[in-house]
């Protein structure tokens, strides 16, 4: 049996010049975009980098899943399309605060930029690829729950008209998601591009969004709001203490009468009454209409001063919501209707996007490559 058959041979194959194709600048930018988009979700990076993106992704899917359930049992959505973006804002802040530094601060910290700029890329290509990557990542996060809700609604729709109505109401949601993604992207990337220290970038981004929103909330809800007293009279179905054991005696929420509806139902029974701000309900059984009670409801309507309306201008988040209310003439806003300064909201949003986005490009034009 031969034992000296060589099992392996080492060849020095030397240097082989590369003769294959070379891609142009545009394709290189695309490669950088894809690479950055992957790192937005932590792909190609360690397990730690995946925690925040996937936590946010799952968190935003919770209301979407509830919505799908609600449509299957024909109940109102827990979070409507238009409210999705504004109400899930905290998750978007968390997302950009974690991801934007990952995209640009790392290259600053490790001084990797000279390696990019000594390659065919131009100065503006780098921020462009990063902007697009973060924007598409965040847009995906924000639009996905809207899309899932929409699919759930369509699946349980009974007529084409319902689908059409649903499509119409989903559009403002997508609009707000796109605007918020754009604003969050430019602001967080500009902040992250000023420092190589990721922790600081994350902190500053989170604080900026949260503090501006808080300032705006104070301006609107504390400083800029006053209440106007209103009284409404209406006849509501009476409830007998005998038939409704749980509602004994003080049925009228504030103790003024008897046999009336609980406060929470007043706004549904009396048109125009905002139940949240009901102060007093007074009334008695209707002598002419058996089974009904005549009640008088005193309630408050918040009146927003110009300062309250302008308060939203201090926060990127409320800027988006105000622009949505103005553009779609919406009455379901989470913030006071900015009218008549709706156009100011839209204008400030556009200026903000251009200025901050431009600042990012300027930043990379000036960055030193040594």
């Amino acid at each position: 049996m031969s034992m000296n058959t060589p099992t392996s041979v080492i060849h020095d194959i030397g240097y082989k010049p590369y003769t294959g194709p070379r891609l142009g600048r545009r394709q290189i930018v695309r490669a950088l975009y894809v690479h950055s988009l992957r790192s937005v979700f932590g792909f190609g990076r360690g397990a730690k980098a995946k925690i925040v993106p996937f936590f946010v992704l799952i968190a935003t899917l919770v209301p979407a899943a509830l919505n799908v359930y609600m449509s299957s049992v024909n109940k109102p959505l827990v979070l409507t399309y238009a409210h999705m973006t504004y109400n899930m804002m905290l998750f978007s802040v968390l997302f950009v605060a974690a991801v934007a530094p990952e995209l640009v601060s790392r290259d600053l910290r490790h001084h990797t930029l000279p390696l990019y700029f000594s390659r065919p890329l131009r100065r503006s290509d780098y921020p462009l690829a990063k902007l697009l990557a973060l924007f598409s990542g965040l847009l995906l996060i924000e639009v996905l729950p809207i899309l899932i809700t929409y699919i759930g609604q369509v699946a349980s729709a009974t007529s084409g008209h319902e689908i059409w109505l649903d499509t119409k109401s989903a559009f403002p949601g997508v609009f707000a998601a796109a605007l918020q993604s754009a604003v969050f992207t430019v602001i967080s990337l500009l902040i992250a591009s000023t420092t190589g220290r990721r922790v600081i970038a994350t902190g500053v981004i989170a604080i900026l969004f949260l503090v501006t929103t808080a300032i705006s909330a104070v301006l609107t809800n504390v400083v800029g709001v006053s209440f106007a007293q209103h009284t409404a009279n209406c006849a509501v179905p009476a409830i007998s203490p005998q038939t409704a054991q749980n509602f004994n005696g003080d049925l009228f929420g504030f103790g003024g009468g008897q046999n009336g509806p609980p406060t929470a139902f007043v706004s549904q029974l009396c048109p125009g009454v905002n139940a949240n701000d009901v102060n007093n309900i007074d009334g008695s059984l209707d002598p002419n209409k058996p089974g009904y009670a005549d009640i008088s409801v005193q309630y408050q309507i918040p009146v927003y001063s110009m300062m309250a309306k302008a308060g939203g201008l201090t926060s990127p988040v409320r800027l988006v919501e105000g622009t949505r209310i103005w553009v779609f003439n919406a009455t379901d806003g989470d913030i006071p209707d900015p009218s008549p300064i709706g156009p100011v909201y839209a204008a400030e949003l556009v200026v903000l996007l251009l200025a901050v986005g431009g600042g990012l490009f300027l930043r990379y034009r000036k960055v030193s490559v040594s």
Binding site: G14, Y15, K16, P17, Y18, G20, P21, R22, L23, G24, R25, Q27, I28, A31, L32, H35, G44, R45, G46, R106, D107, H110, H111, T112, P114, L115, Y116, F117, S118, R119, P120, L121, R122, V369, S370
Partner: protein, 314 residues
């Protein structure tokens, strides 16, 4: 042979003045041939500025540069796709593997995905990191990191490599290995290499040509062979009586130059060695060193700014 080929780099009357008023380069004209070229100069001499202009990253105030036959101010993009650049400073992320990093930069050089992977593996193999290529860069030693920096410059088969202080921070063994690697790239791989360094003694070991700049001006450019062959010197060091010896040798018609505690004697006539030996014996001086210096490029520059420049170069 090299002189017949088209120059890799041609700079004509290059002047670079920064907006702040700092003049980095003044009327610099030089041409670099294929092979390995050492770009020597003290810190602040304008080496990095020159490299940035070569990459098309800076536009010179006046004058023009052609790299690989392309005008740098207009075709920077094409130049950068064919030039590999190894920066002086640390430029490596700690938390990716060498393969991922070099592959990504291969993509950024314009290689298609599969080719980038292959070329990255090749480049890492050539710099001797084949075994370690799946390790995170943060776990590498300084020498290995320098090799990764070289690999990222090498990926995608550049026509020209610009290496800025490639031996920075390396121990003597690491320096030798790095220099041998550069020598191999310049000779076996057929890639033109420009090595910028402030350590003349180091890069003269591997270069075919030397370009020395000082204060943004060209000090001297020549092939190393012509420099060293033209000037054979004998270095003599005695513990005491250096002046006596110099005077004695001068008296015997030899060309003698003092360099610190050493005497450099030009070997232009045959009995120089005998003359020197006899002179030392006659004067009864304690001889500590007698060395035939083949490489002594320093003296080329000593003519100009003497001591200061000399110190910087060494």
């Amino acid at each position: 042979m090299a002189e017949i080929e088209q120059p890799i780099i041609e700079a004509t009357a290059l002047t670079m003045r920064y907006p702040g008023g700092v003049t980095a380069l003044t009327d610099l004209t030089l041409s670099v041939q294929p092979g390995i070229t050492g770009l020597v100069g003290a810190n602040g001499a304008g080496k990095s500025t020159l490299i940035k202009i070569l990459l098309g990253l800076l536009t010179p105030t006046s004058g023009g540069v052609r790299v690989l036959g392309l005008e740098a101010s207009e075709r920077g993009e094409q130049i950068r796709s064919r030039v590999g650049y190894m920066p002086e400073h640390d430029c490596l992320p700690a938390d990716v593997t060498a393969t991922e990093f070099v592959t990504h930069l291969g993509r950024m050089s314009g290689l298609p995905p599969t080719a980038a992977k292959e070329q990255a593996a090749e480049a890492l193999r050539h710099v001797g990191l084949h075994e370690e290529r799946y390790r995170q860069i943060g776990t590498f030693s300084t020498g290995m990191k320098q090799r990764v920096k070289l690999a990222q410059a090498l990926v995608g088969d550049p026509g020209l490599l610009l290496l800025d202080e490639p031996t920075n921070g390396l121990d003597p063994a690491g320096r030798d290995a790095m220099l041998a690697l550069i020598r191999r790239i310049g000779t076996e791989f057929g890639i033109a290499v420009v090595v910028a360094s402030h350590l003349l003694s180091e890069i003269e070991r591997i270069c075919d040509h030397l370009v020395a700049i000082e204060g943004g001006k060209l000090l001297r450019a020549a092939s190393l062979v012509s420099m060293t062959q033209a000037l054979p010197w004998l270095m003599v060091e005695v513990d005491e009586g250096t002046e006596e010896l110099a005077a004695n040798l001068n008296g015997q018609g030899l060309t003698v130059r003092t360099q610190g505690r050493q005497l450099l004697v030009r070997v232009d006539t045959d009995p120089v060695f005998d003359t020197v030996r006899d002179a030392i014996a006659d004067l009864d001086l304690p001889l500590t060193r007698l060395e035939h210096r083949r490489h002594h490029v320093e003296e080329l520059f000593a003519d100009q700014e003497q001591a200061e420049a000399m110190e910087a170069l060494q």
